[in-house]
Symmetry: C2
Subunit: 318 residues, 2 copies
Amino acid sequence: MSEYVTIDDIKAAASVLHGVVVHTPLLPFQGDELGNLVYFKPECLQKTGSFKIRGAYNKVNSLSVEQRQRGVITYSSGNHAQGVACAAHLLGCPAIVVMPAKTAQVKIDGTRSWGAEVVFVGDSSEERRLKAEQLAAEYSYAIVPPFDDPYIIAGQGTIGLEVCADLAEFDAIVVPIGGGGLISGIATAVKSLRPDVRVIGVEPEGAADAYHSRQAGHIVEWAKVETIADGLRTQRIGDWNWRQMQKYVDDIVTVSEDEIRAAMRLLARRAHLVAEPSGSVATAAIMGGKAGLRGKRVIAVISGGNADPAFLAEVIVG
Amino acid sequence: MSEYVTIDDIKAAASVLHGVVVHTPLLPFQGDELGNLVYFKPECLQKTGSFKIRGAYNKVNSLSVEQRQRGVITYSSGNHAQGVACAAHLLGCPAIVVMPAKTAQVKIDGTRSWGAEVVFVGDSSEERRLKAEQLAAEYSYAIVPPFDDPYIIAGQGTIGLEVCADLAEFDAIVVPIGGGGLISGIATAVKSLRPDVRVIGVEPEGAADAYHSRQAGHIVEWAKVETIADGLRTQRIGDWNWRQMQKYVDDIVTVSEDEIRAAMRLLARRAHLVAEPSGSVATAAIMGGKAGLRGKRVIAVISGGNADPAFLAEVIVG
């Protein structure tokens, strides 16, 4: 691939993913909470409960047969771990996932259920990455990074192809930002096919490093991030992601923790979708009328649904 | 229409509903709880939160322009009320809904949000029906019955067309039974297109009048029904429905209240779908290995998602 991920890379990824991932529907939502013309793109209904399978499968599929036989490794406590484990399982490839010792049992079980081996290290993401790199060097595993990779970006971008195929006209698409894998892929696809559509990124106020980076004009790393949206606790967006975002993303907005809870409640009560906090931020931005989105024909990407059951129940009762 | 609803009636309904209802996806589910080959058909993601809009729209659309100008009336406290209200709104037709005085405020609000007028009477379904018939006679409204009607059946049957179009091979489809509108339509479509697929109906043990009717060989009415699945509290299936079911349904099974709760919990936690109790019974039947369904390629129809939030939260924590 060249220095930029292109629409052709994303179309190639779509061919790879055809019949493997769920082509999630666009669900129209009518309600005063959001104005009249919102569509949900529910990746919480995707295999493994999030969009992560798209990029992971596209990446593992890109490896040589020999490399796949040796195996892949990744570092993640969350949805990327399950995405990689599932992709490796489907492609008949051993997978190792480095997780923090304190990971919730449900996430460990979810990853192991796809046959992946789980290795535990300390709590910092730096420790995990170093451990994965050490094991990769020792056993010749291929690393499947969570976001800063052109194949990962192209895989996530297939969501943009799907929405453009499914909806003739819309004004904007709103996308959560963690490390930037999801939005860099979607923005590339949507802006290439529909230059007039606005692409808006959303971060929690407590992890707004991409928002801050955009203001600064260069990547800014946050030493500390704090939010209930555990999938968006990335301290720094990736280099590949930054390049694509600078080219294709129109705006980045932030939402509060209360706005995230309210969106999660609306999705469960009114749209009958279980979204995790990270998956609820795009809806929160529209509810809050951020970036002039109110009353427009807007697509909200619900990135995942792997919420803790006790927290979900608490939020639903509200 | 003739004495039976046919596949052609259902195809005609599909043309009417094209672009109006959501073509809900088939969501593959992998998990030990259900065996390996289950697909959910999530009508909880349908407009108005249940399948009812399909039949209601097809019925209202079949009326003459003069009739539509006078208006439609129905009797329901649940999903059919919202389905009729939405269908009438979309077709520019006044709608009146007769509801029991004790109806939950959220259902009243949902119905009114589509511009329907709500009339309250006492608690018995008989009273509601009589009131609707009296108002229909007085003001020349057309009655939109909840299930015992060929246009309603043909509309619900479009779900069967969709699953046959979306999935090349499957062994069985499992469908909730209240008054029989949903299963009679789906069974007609699926058996006409795929004679080898088994069609299995599911009722709560506390409202198993269709199961009882099947054993008896004629329609049996239950004087009292009791179940958390409020959408399936019908005391007697309809005549049109009975005829179609005798011709096309292979088996009827029952599930306990605990099995319904466990299915609702699984759907929210693992499939990220909010199903109401009535919408969870097909999944419950598969989890319980009823009718030899375990390990087969089975479609579970999730009929609706309009669950009470407090009850939903209680079940999720379980």
